[in-house]
Symmetry: C2
Subunit: 244 residues, 2 copies
Amino acid sequence: MEYSTSSLINSFQPKEKHTTLFNHQISARIRLATELDIPNLHKLVTQMAEYHGLSQIFTTTETSLYNNLFKSPNPPFHSPTALILEISPNPFPQTNHSTTTNFVPIIKNNYNFDNLEILDHELETYRSKFNGHGHDNSNNCNVYVAGHVLVYPSYNGFFEKPGLFLDQMFVRKCYRGMKFGKLLFSVVAMQAEKMGMGMVDWLVADWNEETINFYEKMGAHYIPEYRLCKLYGDQLQAFGRKSD
Amino acid sequence: MEYSTSSLINSFQPKEKHTTLFNHQISARIRLATELDIPNLHKLVTQMAEYHGLSQIFTTTETSLYNNLFKSPNPPFHSPTALILEISPNPFPQTNHSTTTNFVPIIKNNYNFDNLEILDHELETYRSKFNGHGHDNSNNCNVYVAGHVLVYPSYNGFFEKPGLFLDQMFVRKCYRGMKFGKLLFSVVAMQAEKMGMGMVDWLVADWNEETINFYEKMGAHYIPEYRLCKLYGDQLQAFGRKSD
């Protein structure tokens, strides 16, 4: 399913010439989405719906993404919130700890891979529009969007503390197998832990045994009768405190 | 399981003499929970956890309920929100439409039953503490708490509009089979519809075929691989507009 869906997506995208941009090293940054990310985020969400065979019920528009993510008076993580995964062949500059938001970008520079052959047919399409450093856009020449997560605050009446519900986690196909999914997940767990929350919840399809095993190895509690995964208590703390 | 769990609960409760309070008629009201409901709500949530065999992971306290339900600066349904189902042998007075909250109590007076034999061993325990009419407490002499729902705002990145996640819906055993569950559910759907939301989501255990059938008859879309029920689109509108 993965291959055919991906081919389908690619067949509708203008083919872009890929460059040998990544040479043994790739750097990653996870930051809060901004309004400038809406077009890329909409493409990511659309591709994810196609991957899950849910295009028929898909109704998200760029406007609805904007309304749902950026019109709430609540700070990030107290209403639906998107995080963007960016990658670059160059290391990301360390960001000053911001006092205006409750999330500091997570940067992992210079992952080493022996044979880093990334065929990104949509490289130009996904060029990052974000400029978070107050400089001109040239800083972003080599920064590309590779994935996202969507979360919102959740509550379960059986637990003392509220949590974060992980609605979506997506890494573009050509960037899979590089542990970016785990990185995204750990950032969400860290944030829940930092905010004094008690859990991260998400749903997993029952056919997805590989993923269930992956989550259980992470320490998540899988409730098969609901297909619900729940990371809480000591396991949330353990996962939230180490992101490597 | 239902019987044994219920017997277990009852065996730990002080036995109360039941009265022939309900005589062919029972009236119901669904209203926003207030701080005065915390002790009763905590008992309901505790009983629900026992019923689902989840007492071992249960950590909710009266204080945590208060913090999660009443400390948010957001209005009801924009943060975790509890609704209380009250029953009485007497009709409830119609409430003036309040302008201070976004929820008007739903009242269904004088349900008729030919043989209404309700053995409520916890009648006194669940006497309602709510006094919503500005009169003295004598108004509430014959008002009892029979169930609750917990909801919070949810978001799914594949849909244009946000929704309400139905975390808990519970009717005390002696008041089941009287369509109060459906009434509670319809009130949640009505509220989602009224707020311009696009869906109500909830989880259902895969062993609970009877319940799944019940939800599907209501028009809910059941996604078996996730055990997720989703009421949206025309079906949400249809369900939200009729509460009978």
